[in-house]
Symmetry: C2
Subunit: 190 residues, 2 copies
DNA sequence: TGTACATCAGTGAACGCGCGTTCACTGATGTAC
DNA sequence: TGTACATCAGTGAACGCGCGTTCACTGATGTAC
């Protein structure tokens, strides 16, 4: 039962989108192609009509996940630029709701270790996202030189990713929330 | 071929130690019991003479990995306390050599996402390590109130873990090194 | 202290299972005339 | 525009393989007398 070109394109996009969610929720090694295809509403046999290997869908879904996160940040900063807008982006990132929504959140925090161990293609996709995030943050730190802003942006991003990672590991709600709150407070005064 | 009680104890410790390394290097899901036992110099059948399940060795090896890292930090701070000693600990953590030695390094950075997804027992072990790290860092921030020191320590730890995670994902040596250098510089002046 | 027996750490083969990947088949879609 | 055929997205079964786990067996160690 062949599908129309539009259907095929839609299906492919749907697989990448649900894969991006599944990988963040269960890890890359923890997500099988069968469950990944089931999440996209198909049987696993059809996977290879769209991708050459698991590696390829990992690469594309990591690129999509990090890309759409940076897109959202840039859109938010375009509407509300400067220190005020940057603080909003940070508060949104370092928040309990982001912590509790792994599947839709930042892949750097959800898959940090997995990404460091991943193939070159996957790491390239992640690195491109990291560069875009650094640039997006640095652009709003306009009270210092571009070089200083870039360097400060790296530290900011490190704190954001680290705080979210720790807050997700910690089971104690009080400690987890405090870690997020302290990071938010610290970053707002930078 | 039964072994002496001493041998048995030694073997068990050896398995946990090499497991701690393997998990950090290949991820938890990425490490099979067979390769884990092979790394300890045994065949995989003997595993269940020492542990009830894979989960148990994960828990013990995460506890060991994070525990011995904090031990090392505390020893270093006992010898050289205060701001100077803390800066040395930070410089050691946020370094290229730590970045390149995943197997012997901080499990929070190596297994961040894996730990957040792990069982309660594993997360408890990780959380205990996080609390000890926060306390060890806070104890050296003696120019502020204990409550403020604890809060600042959380932010410091977040930046350390985040910077190491990002530096490991990034393939470009220049960017990776710059991320580490900026985090180090920023943390030294806190 | 020496002997006889029970224990049990470690081996290596096997278990069922899910993995990533392949393939024969299907039938609606796209193409050629 | 209508018909005949080729294409190919998706299905579902199967491939070999490594996973976590179990088990019969071994022989040196530990225990009882």
């Amino acid at each position: 039962m062949r599908k129309s070109r539009q259907d095929t394109e839609d299906t492919r996009r749907r697989i990448v989108e649900s894969a991006a969610r599944e990988f963040r929720e269960q890890g890359i090694d923890g997500t099988g192609l069968a469950s990944l295809m089931a999440a996209a509403g198909m049987t696993h046999g059809g996977f290879y009509k769209h991708f050459a290997s698991k590696e390829q869908v990992v690469e594309e879904s990591v690129a999509l996940a990090i890309g759409s996160m940076v897109d959202a940040m840039e859109r938010s900063l375009a509407v509300s630029p400067g220190e005020r807008g940057l603080n909003a982006v940070i508060a949104n990132y370092v928040s309990a709701s982001h912590r509790d929504d792994v599947g839709d959140g930042c892949p750097l925090a959800a898959l940090g270790g997995d990404l460091a161990r991943a193939s070159d293609g996957v790491r390239d996709a992640a690195e491109q996202g990291i560069r875009r995030m650094i640039d997006a943050i640095a652009a709003e730190l306009d009270d210092r030189t571009p070089a200083a802003a870039r360097k400060d942006a790296m530290v900011l991003l490190s704190t954001m990713v680290g705080a979210l990672t720790l807050a997700r590991i910690v089971k104690d709600e009080a400690l987890s929330t405090t870690i997020l709150a302290q990071a938010r407070k610290h970053l707002a005064s930078a």
